[in-house]
């Protein structure tokens, strides 16, 4: 009886190993839906990818669910945006997942920010300046040109882990980048009415979007990144918006509605509400439609305001 039990135990322990055959898809976990979409475009049928965030969350407050540890435990690769944007949930989940293949800087840890030159790198780290983004503003997914850099990093990360599929990843990446280039050219043309328009956002995450489409992000409703505003800050912001003729208030959908509406009304600016990730609204079902939705929504708001 003991011998039978030992044999059964040995077979059970071998089962996870025997499933990792050549026909098994790459098991990937992406932190946000934008990266999951890119991974599907680059790896096609070779990959099964799940996103931890659904797209409606504040990426700084994605809940740390133990069920995510199970997904990460079985993952061959983890795909993250990087620049410490996932610091509130990913490091602890990687520890709980007990998967050495995807620990930080292991081969299966695919950081999609490695080719991006970030904006707003602090020259000084000090909590008096709020919950700073310590290596630069990490909200790079809102800029489709930096989105191309993310896709390249993703493809290179997959190739590093699966060199036998390099040709497939390269072919699919080239196709994806060609589609993105065509969309970028069209967006830049459509975005001409946005040039010079000033905006205020709830959190400093519109910087890359603004830079790409010729707008100017002049301030935030948060007094500092991650710190809710005080009445004094709101008054100063409203005064600055009137003085500098700021035309737009952007409320990212995971922040409270009331304050952004009040600030827009009191300053004569137009309120526009945007998702910060793919999946944040039903129309933003993939990366291209996400950027498209954001641009069209901002254009409509600017046209409404003029």
């Amino acid at each position: 009886m003991t011998r039978i039990a030992l044999v059964l135990l040995a077979v059970l322990l071998m089962v996870p190993v025997s499933l990792k055959g050549a026909d098994r898809k790459i098991q990937a976990v992406a932190t946000i839906p934008d990266l999951a979409d890119m991974a599907r475009n680059i790896a096609g049928d070779l990959i099964d990818v799940t996103s931890l965030a659904t797209g409606v969350e504040d990426i700084h407050a994605v809940p740390m669910k133990p069920s995510f540890a199970v997904l990460l435990n079985r993952a061959d690769v983890v795909i993250l945006m990087g620049l410490e944007i996932e610091h509130a949930f990913l490091p602890a989940l990687l520890e709980a997942a007990r998967n050495p293949k995807i620990l930080r800087d292991a081969p299966g840890y695919i950081d999609c920010s490695v080719y991006v030159t970030p904006l707003d790198v602090p020259t000084r780290l000090d909590r008096a300046l709020g919950d700073q983004h310590p290596v630069g503003n990490p909200h790079i997914n809102l800029d489709p040109v930096r989105g191309k850099d993310m896709a390249r990093a993703l493809a290179d990360g997959l190739t590093r882990n699966y060199p036998e599929y390099e040709a497939t990843f390269k072919k699919n990446l080239d196709t994806y980048l060609t589609t993105l280039d065509a969309a970028i050219a069209r967006w830049e043309q459509e975005a001409k009415p946005l040039h010079g328009i000033k905006l205020v956002s709830y959190h400093p995450d519109m910087l890359y979007f603004a830079e790409r489409f010729g707008m100017e992000a002049v301030g935030t409703i948060e007094i500092r990144a991650g710190v809710d505003p005080t009445p004094g800050h709101i008054a100063e912001l409203q005064e600055r918006m009137r003085r500098e003729k700021v035309g737009l208030v952007v409320r990212e959908l995971h922040y409270p509605a009331g304050l952004a509406e009040t600030i827009a009304q009191s300053t004569g600016a137009t309120l526009v509400e945007l998702p910060a990730m793919v999946g944040g609204v039903p129309e933003a079902k993939d990366y291209l439609s996400f950027i498209d939705y954001n641009l069209r929504t901002v254009l409509k708001a600017v046209q409404k305001g003029t």
Binding site: A69, L119, Y255
Partner: protein, 352 residues
């Protein structure tokens, strides 16, 4: 300058300091007023945390705590990071994997004071010197199984001497199973069951001890508003069973003339709290405590409404009123707690 690559910024660090551990420091202070003890400013702790990877196979961390009683290494542990079969081994001094809030440092608790049942049955945090093995089961359902062996469990457990060698029957052994139920995207339950067994409590002249617990935490966290809305309900039930001398232990420094007669004693205790997130800053809550004495003495009950105010992620104020009712004492207590965190901060899985 705005476009400095992160790699260039990293090169600015001096070479000797590049492998320094992450260092954080927490200051926890409380102003209190109790009917009988009157007022006091309590410096509760100045706690330094250090953590770093040691090599490709392990990481280490330490918590060094300064309190009015002195300086103590509260935790110093080595944890494996690369074992197969989803195993983790932890060794050194650490909080044993019993229950939920027993593993929280005082300043991390959702309220000012540790629940009575944990102070009484666990005697503080579940600190133990020993070794623990944890396994993440290969199932779709999240399930972790833990087994541990320690000199004793309980930071203030003075019934067992940490420094004295002992037989295998005098160690404390622990088993725990924990799972997670994702009811919907916004609602979840963490559930756990723990059991600690000491075959012979040496200082208690051979009486054995069983401590069992069930913990449940319900969370409502709306995904699109997680920073601004939410609800947590946490409950733990603990049951203590041990052999105690029917006439009590002899006074310290003396010996009983007659052999001690041990009788089984059961004690039960629990706490339950509910806390709402009304905004990014304001978290009102209510804690209910009940615990019997270890010798089956009459129970202590406490009711504590509280309000936590997060000025920022690193600074917290808490106001709490406690109505304490225990045999021979009924008391109103008022607390104002101020807690800050300096330096490195980590969002820990254990403390979520």
């Amino acid at each position: 300058m705005r476009d400095i690559k992160p790699s260039l910024a990293a090169a600015n660090k001096t070479f000797p300091s590049q492998f320094n551990p992450a260092i954080g420091f927490i200051i926890d202070t409380v102003g209190s007023y109790r009917d009988h003890e009157r007022g006091n400013f309590e410096f509760r702790s100045g706690e330094m945390g250090l953590s770093a990877n040691i090599d490709p196979f392990t990481r280490g961390y330490a918590i060094i705590n300064g309190t009015p009683e002195g300086l103590e290494v509260e935790e110093a542990a080595i944890v494996t990071t690369a074992l197969p079969y989803s195993l983790t081994v932890k060794g050194g001094r650490f909080f044993a994997d019993f229950g939920r809030l027993s593993k929280f440092h005082d300043h991390d608790l959702p309220f000012v004071n540790r629940p009575v049942v944990l102070d009484r049955f666990m005697q503080g945090e579940s600190q133990g010197d020993g070794i623990e093995v944890s396994y993440l089961a290969p199932t779709q359902q999240y399930l972790t199984l833990t087994a541990g062996m320690y000199n004793k469990i309980g930071a203030e457990n003075e019934r067992v001497d940490n420094l004295v060698p002992r037989d295998f029957s005098q160690f404390t052994y622990l088993w725990r199973a924990a799972t997670f139920l994702n009811l919907t995207d916004n609602n979840s339950i963490d559930l756990g069951a723990s059991y600690a067994y000491t075959p012979k409590v040496k200082i208690d002249q051979g009486g054995n001890r069983h401590l069992a617990g069930v913990d449940l935490t319900f969370r409502y966290t709306p995904l699109s508003q997680a920073s601004y809305r939410g609800l947590s309900w946490g409950t733990e039930f603990l049951y203590n069973h041990e052999n105690r001398p029917s006439d009590g232990f002899p006074e310290e420094g003396t010996e009983s003339e007659e052999p001690l007669h041990f009788k089984p004693r059961d004690a039960f205790g629990m706490y339950s709290y509910i806390e709402a997130r009304l905004s990014r800053r304001f978290y009102p809550g209510f804690l209910f405590d009940y615990a019997q004495g270890i010798d089956r003495a009459k129970g202590t009950t406490a009711y504590s409404p509280y309000l936590t105010i997060w000025a920022s992620e690193f600074q917290r104020l808490r106001l709490q009123y406690t109505r304490l009712e225990e045999p021979g004492n009924r008391e109103n207590q008022f607390f104002l707690q101020w807690t800050v965190a300096l330096g490195s901060h980590v969002h820990g899985f254990r403390d979520r």
